[in-house]
C-alpha cells in the first residue's frame, strides 16, 4: 500500500478549511509531535481519507465525503494552525 503525504490532499483540505493547509502546523494528540500537514502520512481511496502522524502513526484527521458533504474529524489533532518557527526563510 503506497502512502502519500499531505500535499496529495491539498485540494480536499482547501475544500474543508477554506484555505491551503499544506503548510499549516499540526500537533498530534497522541504523541505531541508537530509538523506541517504536508508531511503527514495520508491514506487515500478508502471509505474516507485518513491522515496519520508521521512520528507515531496515530490518526490525526479523517475526512469522509458523505452525501456530498465533507465530514471531518480532527479529534486526533491538538492544534492545527499557521506554521510557526523555522520556515524556508529561517
Amino acid at each position: 500500500m503506497v502512502t502519500l503525504d499531505g500535499n496529495a490532499i491539498g485540494g480536499l483540505l482547501h475544500e474543508v478549511f477554506g484555505a491551503d493547509m499544506t503548510d499549516a502546523e499540526a500537533t498530534c494528540a497522541t504523541c505531541g509531535a508537530t509538523g506541517p500537514v504536508a508531511e503527514t502520512v495520508v491514506y487515500l481511496r478508502g471509505p474516507g481519507t485518513v491522515v496519520r502522524c508521521r512520528n507515531c502513526s496515530g490518526v490525526l484527521m479523517v475526512i469522509s465525503q458523505i452525501r456530498g458533504v465533507n465530514c471531518v474529524d480532527v479529534r486526533g489533532l491538538t492544534t492545527l494552525g499557521p506554521h510557526q518557527g523555522t520556515d524556508a526563510a529561517g
Binding site: P47, G48, S64, I66
Partner: protein, 203 residues
C-alpha cells in the same frame, strides 16, 4: 455546476449490465483487487500471532497460529462489495468459519467488535457472523493471504460492505451493545448492507 463529460474517458471498471442480481446498487465490477487501507500494514510474526475471543476484558479463548491452522478450514467463493463502489465477483478464500470459533465459547452476546493489529475495528451483530456467513480467512486465490490484503488473517463477511471484513484481525470482542468500529465512528453505516445501499449512517 455539473462536470462536463471528459471526451473518450472510460473507467476501468465494467458496468453491472448482465449481472443484475449479483451486483448491488451503485457498484461497479472490477477485475483488479484494489488495496485500501486506513493505516500502515502491520507485520506480526506468525509465532506471535494469536486469535482471541474476549468479553469484558477477559480472554475466553485464544488460538496460536499453529492451533488455528489445525482447525477445520473451508474454501469459500464469494462476491465482495466495497463501499467505495467496486465489487469483485467470485473471489476465492480459505479460512476458518467464525461458527467454528464461537462454538467453542459459550456466550449470550448479541454483537462482536472485530479488533486488529494497527487498531482497526469493525462491529457486527453475532447473527451476521454465524450461520455460515463469516470466516477468518488466511488464504486468497489459492495463496496465503498477502499482508497488503490483510494477511496473515482477515475477517471475511461478504454479505456486508467490505469495510466490515477487517484486515489483520486478531480477535472478536463479544459485546451486549452494538458499538461503532473505525469507519462506523467516522460516519459510515452501523450495519452496512450493500443491497439496501447502507453506506452512511442514516441511510
Amino acid at each position: 455546476m455539473s462536470s462536463p463529460v471528459s471526451r473518450g474517458f472510460r473507467h476501468l471498471h465494467r458496468s453491472s449490465v448482465g449481472q443484475e442480481g449479483r451486483v448491488p446498487p451503485g457498484q461497479y465490477v472490477t477485475e483488479g483487487f484494489p488495496v485500501l487501507s486506513a493505516g500502515p500494514t502491520p507485520h506480526t510474526p506468525l509465532q506471535e500471532w494469536t486469535f482471541s475471543i474476549r468479553r469484558g476484558g477477559d480472554t475466553l479463548r485464544s488460538w496460536t497460529w499453529e492451533e488455528f491452522q489445525a482447525l477445520s478450514a473451508e474454501t469459500v467463493t464469494a462476491d465482495i462489495h466495497c463501499v467505495t463502489r467496486w465489487s469483485k465477483l467470485d473471489t476465492g478464500w480459505r479460512g476458518v468459519s467464525v461458527d467454528t470459533l464461537l462454538d467453542q465459547v459459550p456466550h449470550d452476546a448479541a454483537y462482536v467488535l472485530a479488533f486488529c493489529d494497527g487498531g482497526y475495528t469493525s462491529n457486527l451483530p453475532v447473527k451476521d457472523v454465524t450461520g455460515g456467513q463469516a470466516w477468518v480467512a488466511f488464504g486468497y486465490d489459492g495463496q496465503p493471504l498477502q499482508a497488503e490484503h490483510g494477511g496473515p488473517a482477515r475477517l471475511l463477511v461478504p454479505h456486508l460492505y467490505f469495510w466490515k471484513s477487517a484486515k489483520w484481525v486478531r480477535g472478536l470482542e463479544l459485546r451486549d451493545r452494538d458499538e461503532p468500529g473505525f469507519w462506523e465512528s467516522y460516519g459510515y453505516h452501523i450495519y452496512g448492507d450493500p443491497w439496501r445501499e447502507q453506506r452512511y449512517a442514516g441511510d
